[in-house]
């Protein structure tokens, strides 16, 4: 029997603008990618969810602060609480932090400039559903494009996160002023991850790098395992 195609939802908030790239990239990696409108109170039957990049609700007040109240975000929170896999990219990462699904907060870049370029990322963990295709210590090249990507958490929080191995990716060179060059983190349980770089923009060598596919294909694979378990 052919293994089932995992179903991965991509939440579309007003102001999301990387939703289509995420849908496209997940489909290219052999998932059935499903758009989820922000007004949905319940998620369809899904094996994983992606919160895409963009400027949800205009990023008014603080990035991700308003998206936290969207019906779909509440549904994603329940999904994550039940152990579902959730990946937040860029604005999606900001939403996860504001919603309390991930620790810390993302602040305006130290340089005050919007940063849009390929950056090196060092993989700190390769045992998560989002990183099984990566190797710990290796450097990936994936683009960032953000004005508010400086991850911040107080020292005691960072120490706890180090202890729980919640830091997944670090910038290989200083990028936006993030504490300890943090680029991607996960929750304690390891089923929710957020990162500022855009793996969906790096899934084909034609785009400059295919390293983003390592992260998204890991997610697709984990989602497929989930689908198989349920089948």
């Amino acid at each position: 029997m052919a293994s089932p195609q995992p179903r991965i939802g991509v939440v579309m908030y007003p102001g999301s603008n990387d939703d289509r790239d995420a849908l496209w990239a997940l489909s290219a990696l052999d998932a059935e990618s499903i758009p989820v409108w922000h007004e949905e109170r319940e998620l369809p039957d899904l094996d994983a969810v992606v919160l895409p990049g963009g400027f949800s609700y205009g990023d008014y007040l603080r990035c991700g602060a308003i998206a936290r109240f969207s019906p779909a975000t509440a549904a994603v929170k329940s999904f994550a609480d039940a152990g579902g896999l959730v990946l937040g990219i860029c604005n999606g990462f900001q939403v996860l932090c504001e919603a309390g699904l991930l620790p810390g907060v993302l602040l305006q870049n130290e340089s005050l400039q919007f940063i849009c370029r390929d950056v090196p990322l060092v993989v700190e963990r390769d045992d998560l559903p989002f990183t099984t295709r990566c190797t710990q210590g290796e450097t990936l090249v994936i683009p960032v494009k953000h004005g508010d990507g400086r991850w911040f958490g107080p020292p005691e929080l960072v120490a706890d996160m180090e202890e729980n191995r919640q830091i997944v990716l670090r910038y290989g060179q200083p990028c936006n002023g993030s504490v300890d060059d943090i680029a991607g983190i996960c929750n304690e349980r390891g089923n929710v991850m957020g990162l500022m770089p855009h793996p969906e923009h790096a899934v084909d060598p034609l785009l400059g790098s295919a390293d983003g596919a390592l992260i998204l294909a890991s997610l697709v694979e984990a989602a497929r395992d989930h689908a198989v378990t349920l089948a």
């Binding site: 007040l61 602040l107 305006q108 130290e110 911040f152």
Partner: protein, 79 residues
């Protein structure tokens, strides 16, 4: 009852906007230090009772207007 909420970056948090403003003021010839940039939210609460209004605005700050990790807030009520 009218209320004003002042939201400030907590001390110790790097505020690049404040730093940029400070540099710009120095370029204008002012001698300044410690510039920080925050936000002001003006709103009108549907209550005439100051204690009740303050309690409501406190909740608004905790739930939305400020992120306690990085921001502190101050509430002013205007009769």
């Amino acid at each position: 009852m009218k209320a004003t909420v002042l939201v400030r970056p907590k001390s110790g948090i790097l505020d690049p906007q404040g730093a940029a403003v400070e540099t710009a003021l120095e370029h204008l010839g002012f001698s300044v230090s410690g510039a920080r940039v925050g936000k002001v939210v003006d709103l009108e609460v549907a209550s005439d009772d100051a204690t009740e209004a303050r309690a409501q605005v406190e909740k608004m700050c905790e739930q939305l207007l400020a992120n306690p990790l990085m921001e502190s807030y101050e509430i002013e009520l205007h009769g």
